[in-house]
Structure formats: C-alpha cells, structure tokens
Symmetry: C2
Subunit: 186 residues, 2 copies
C-alpha cells in the first residue's frame, strides 16, 4: 500500500521535489518537429545545443494518477516558437489536465477525427484535454512557460501517430503568434 | 467526442469559470463532524449559519478525469479548525492530487488499515493521495485555504465509512495546531 506524500512544485522554474522522473529535450533532439532545420542547425552551431523543454514527474505505478511539470524555455527556431513534441495518449479513453503556473503559451490540440483547437495558456488557466486529442504546448512569451499536468499512469504517450507533424504550426507574426497550415493532413 | 476547454481558476477565491458543479457547506450542515456541538450551536446563534467550505468543479462524465477547487474559510468551532467532512473513495484503486493555491492547511489522511498520516498544505505543495486513504483538509491559517484537486470521474466519494469520524482531530493548541486522538478507532 502506498504512502501519501507531499511534492513541492516551484511555479517559476517547474522544479519538483521529490521527483521520480526527469528528462530534457534540446534542439538536436527536436530536429523532426521544427519546420526550419537550416535555422535549427545554424542555432546549434552558434549558440550550442540549447535546452528547449524539460519534464519532471512524480510517478508511483501502483497508483492510478501521476503528475508533474513541463517547462518550456522562451525561444524560436526561425519563426517557430519553442514547443513540445506533442502526442496522443496510447489509451484512447484517457485525457489530461494542464494547469499553467507561469508564462504565456498556446496549447495546440488535434483530434483523431482531424479537428484542430487552440487554447491560451496563462497563470490560472486550467486546460481540460479530453481523451483522444493530441496536445502540444508552445511558449509564445518572453519567459519560461511552466504548467502542472495530471493524468492516469496508464494513459501512455504515443508519439508515433504525430510523426508527420501536426496540421497547424504556430509562428511569430508581425503582431504576435499566428497559426498557419503545416501541409500535414490529420 | 468532447471538446477541449479552458477553465479559469482564481487562486485566491477558488472561483472557477466555467463550473459544472458548486456546493457549499455551512455550520449547520457539519454538526456531525465537529466535536463541540454546543460551541457550534452557540456560533450559529451569535454569528449566523456561517459558510465553512465550498467545492466547485468542472466535470464531463464522458472523460476519465475531472477537477475543481475546494475553498475552506478561516475559523474554528471551539478549539477545532474549519475543515471538510473527509471521505474515502468508492473505488479502492483510485486516489487524488491536491495542489494548494493559497492559505495554510493540514491534510489528515487515514488508511483502511488504520494508519494515519498528516501533510502540510501551503502554496506550492502538491499532495499525492494514494488509493484507499481517506482525506480531510483543515484550514489552520488566518486566510482562506484554496486547493485544486484532480481525480478520476469514477473515483466516487464514500462519506459513510467515516460516519464515526476520523481517528485524529486537529485543534488549536497554545503554540499552534495540535493533533489529538479523537477516540474513534479506524
């Protein structure tokens, strides 16, 4: 039988303590998701292999729920904002909750039936992600984007279904973020 | 198929928008949980039937997860702090996550095997409540205690099993909150 436990979450950095999982994604890990690979390679050459985002989690497999934080650094690859890979869940009947702690973001969602939605992320926004909607978070602000996520341990992440990319991209336009067609069909 | 949706959470008041459920518990609703019923009746006579706590939720039954806030006013009945009723889940395999937004509280937990645990609640604390642990939250501060909770829609609340009360009570001692035996056996 599991014991109750407090986990401290730092809303500014996304650090959690204790953590059971932690991974980082750098520019070179994300060549497949950004449209402008020439800009990406140039950035790595000039600025080094910068951190794009990190995920920290508290997971007990014997429980139903787990939770953690995702922290996306501010930045762009060409005109495209730093973002997560995005994924469907393996379990088609399991969704997720994203509670934004700091920064300014967009949550890009794509359903299996092809529909696309976008939600704003800002401190106090709690995004309800229903089952069967792929989700990618995008930092469109000048500071770190930090959010707390909660989902079922068994939800699982399926990155394969988005290998071709999502149907839309979010780029920096003249007067702020703009959503454009990516050329990928859902 | 459900649509994604943003819910705004006010960390100071616990208000959420949109909300699908909202209930309040006042002193007269909670006669069974406080030890000092004479003090309770006197309070109601002198101060009116004061609000003790409220629960607001965003629930879509077709989803796996739902979430909401619990807001406990500061106050005491005799020496005992304002608190929630406390409950087990109907589903013995489903727990909960409590992310404190404002105030200062204690989370009193009692397992079906009789063990008791207590966790501190403060902004930034995210309490992992494993399956099969009853949980009651207690406002030991001078301001509202507000926390966001997330659990499975199917978890269900079972108040009946705690009808006799919990094994411990938290009262205001000379130098702060103290945990005492309630006389109830788990």
């Amino acid at each position: 039988m599991l014991d109750p436990q407090n986990v401290t979450i730092d809303a500014e950095s996304g650090a959690i303590a204790p953590e059971t999982e932690h991974y980082e994604k750098r520019l070179s890990d994300l060549r497949q998701i950004f449209a402008d690979r020439i800009a990406l390679d140039r950035m790595v050459g000039e600025e080094g292999d910068r951190l794009v985002y990190q995920v920290r989690a508290f997971r007990k497999n014997e429980s139903d729920l787990w939770f953690g934080t995702t922290t996306i650094e501010p930045g762009r690859v060409g005109s495209e904002y730093f973002m997560t890979r995005g994924h469907f869940h393996k379990r088609h009947d399991m969704g997720e909750v994203y509670h934004t702690q700091a920064g300014k973001g967009l949550l890009l969602l794509q359903a299996r039936d092809g529909r696309v939605e976008i939600l704003e992320m800002h401190p106090g926004s709690c995004s309800f992600i229903p089952p069967d909607w792929a989700h990618r978070s995008i930092n469109v602000g000048d500071d770190r984007l930090v959010f707390v996520w909660v989902c079922n341990v068994e939800a699982g992440n399926d990155y394969g279904e988005l290998e071709k990319g999502m149907q839309r991209r979010v780029i920096a336009g003249v007067s702020g973020p703009e959503m454009i067609e990516s050329g990928v069909r859902g």
